[in-house]
Symmetry: C2
Subunit: 362 residues, 2 copies
Amino acid sequence: MMTANDGLKQELIEQFGTPCAVIDLDIVDRNIAHLQSLCDAAGIANRPHIKTHKSPFLARRQLDAGAIGITCQKLGEAEVMAEAGIENILIATNIIGAARSGRLAALQRRIPLKICADNPVSLAAYAEAGQAAERPVRVLVECDTGQKRAGVETPEEAVALAQIIRDDPWLEFGGLMFYPPVDGWPATQLFLDSARGGLGELGLVADIISTGGTPNLVNLGRLDGATEHRAGTCIFNDRMMMAAGVAAIGDCALNIFTSVVSRAGETRGILDAGSKTFTSDTGGLDGFGLIREHPEARIHKMAEEHGFLDLSGCKAPPAVGDIMRVVPNHVCVAVNMFDQLVAVRGNDIVDVLPVAARGRLV
Amino acid sequence: MMTANDGLKQELIEQFGTPCAVIDLDIVDRNIAHLQSLCDAAGIANRPHIKTHKSPFLARRQLDAGAIGITCQKLGEAEVMAEAGIENILIATNIIGAARSGRLAALQRRIPLKICADNPVSLAAYAEAGQAAERPVRVLVECDTGQKRAGVETPEEAVALAQIIRDDPWLEFGGLMFYPPVDGWPATQLFLDSARGGLGELGLVADIISTGGTPNLVNLGRLDGATEHRAGTCIFNDRMMMAAGVAAIGDCALNIFTSVVSRAGETRGILDAGSKTFTSDTGGLDGFGLIREHPEARIHKMAEEHGFLDLSGCKAPPAVGDIMRVVPNHVCVAVNMFDQLVAVRGNDIVDVLPVAARGRLV
């Protein structure tokens, strides 16, 4: 039985081969509007994280829908976005390596950046860049309230860094940045309230109080004082977001089209997409992706170019040459493996978007 | 105390920032020569797999050292190598998606390819490409002797595919391809002997009997009838090869230079290199890499841009801003994350090599 999807699959494989990353712009548009409406309803500014799509075209769509600016994870991503004319950028990591290469100063000369820091060494590197650029760097102090990643662990440390920032002519205090665990918002409130007290004693006000994460959209509006939110994954969604209960399969905008290239065993098969396509991120889930045509199949293992299929649960397993649409576990890292995204609306190919900020490691 | 390494670290971060992938060409040269000498000693032709380095420059060095040709995993890799003037190429996967996109025919028109197949659908795609290119495609039948990946499971199936190849004017039978488990060489011998009998009855001779894998170098010469070997990782080596007992730390040619960007907790820290740099491949090992300066530190978790350090075992833990040289668990997938490799000899930067076949998914 030929379906409308089969026509698209045929067209995709003939034009691009497999594996091929395909986004449905109808779903993307809906996801962008949904995020904006959640932020609007909570009275929180929307600063989406572009690490998910790495595309200036899609960043521009987010801004057009109402976002006040964007978040980048690396300086190299910010460089790509600035090149595309986007100026309101927060870099949400300590970027010592990029700072010391001189590239931070070069970008700061072009646009006034906001960057986070959780230590004096980062601050010194930013101040040096600010001085070289002859424009102070605006710094958010990164605060940890449970993720145990980067971020100072106490309000006192946050205030101490704010003081260093205040006292440096090439730095400007911009506010506080949080990435709270989904169940860590009460603790974050305590941290924030205490830090604001200390900042007040220094004569400082945190203009920006930033929170982050797509799963945290359920908490939007729960942090008194929060001004903006950084959500990335929800533009595409993925199997992890489905597992977290914040997206349904119909909200997943990106599918990886991959061919079954081997069926050497009765209950097993091989896809032409492995860890070089999906990455090895499980995101804590069983298997490496959801096959839309065969949800009962498991992608149980990855080699670089091979996805290992366990088909023992399939009544009608796929044959060699069949094309599968797979929702990846973690869409952000999968996008980073592709040079381009094929854009469709329903079953029509409408565009090819370069993943312009792909692989920007520095 | 300033060491010679510190000077290199300073130069690297100023020129390239961190994370930065650095190969030592002295070690690379030694590793290339060592592989060739192992193959020569066993009387087996050397057809190194370029998936590890993805660099025409390094492929050329392998050929200059005595390799008879190269192995690629994807058509896109073969395209890059052919563009660089390399003509003796084996593609070691079923490439249905690339075949149906017309790219196989285009490359086959330029150079006579060798490709593997384990099923009639792949063969049909190759025959179509051969016809379009007006040059038959040389096919190796892929045989599985325990990896349960691609490859027919029985000699009878291998012979049946060889017959299809023989009977198709646009295909040519090239031989058999194996990727035996390290402890699966006796089973591979039984498979091979049986298949050769069947091939003989068809009037066919397997000119190429190919084996693969760096860990299998210990088995080189143990398969009667084998003609060539595909080894990839041993040009750089990595923590997995060390764990497999086939490389020492001094044989590891690639280090990822990464900065400590956060030390928010007493016994923990954050690197500016996460899964977007190392990938999430553990290779079955504990942690995600070996820090040369602090082998007692564990990289215990990865976020996209953050490597999580457990420093509880460190007497003198690194400080923010310190640059670490990390041997990745799995070097092939890490190389695929970089657009370039910085080449050094000892502590001197001597070249920058584009990872020209990076990200060739199709």
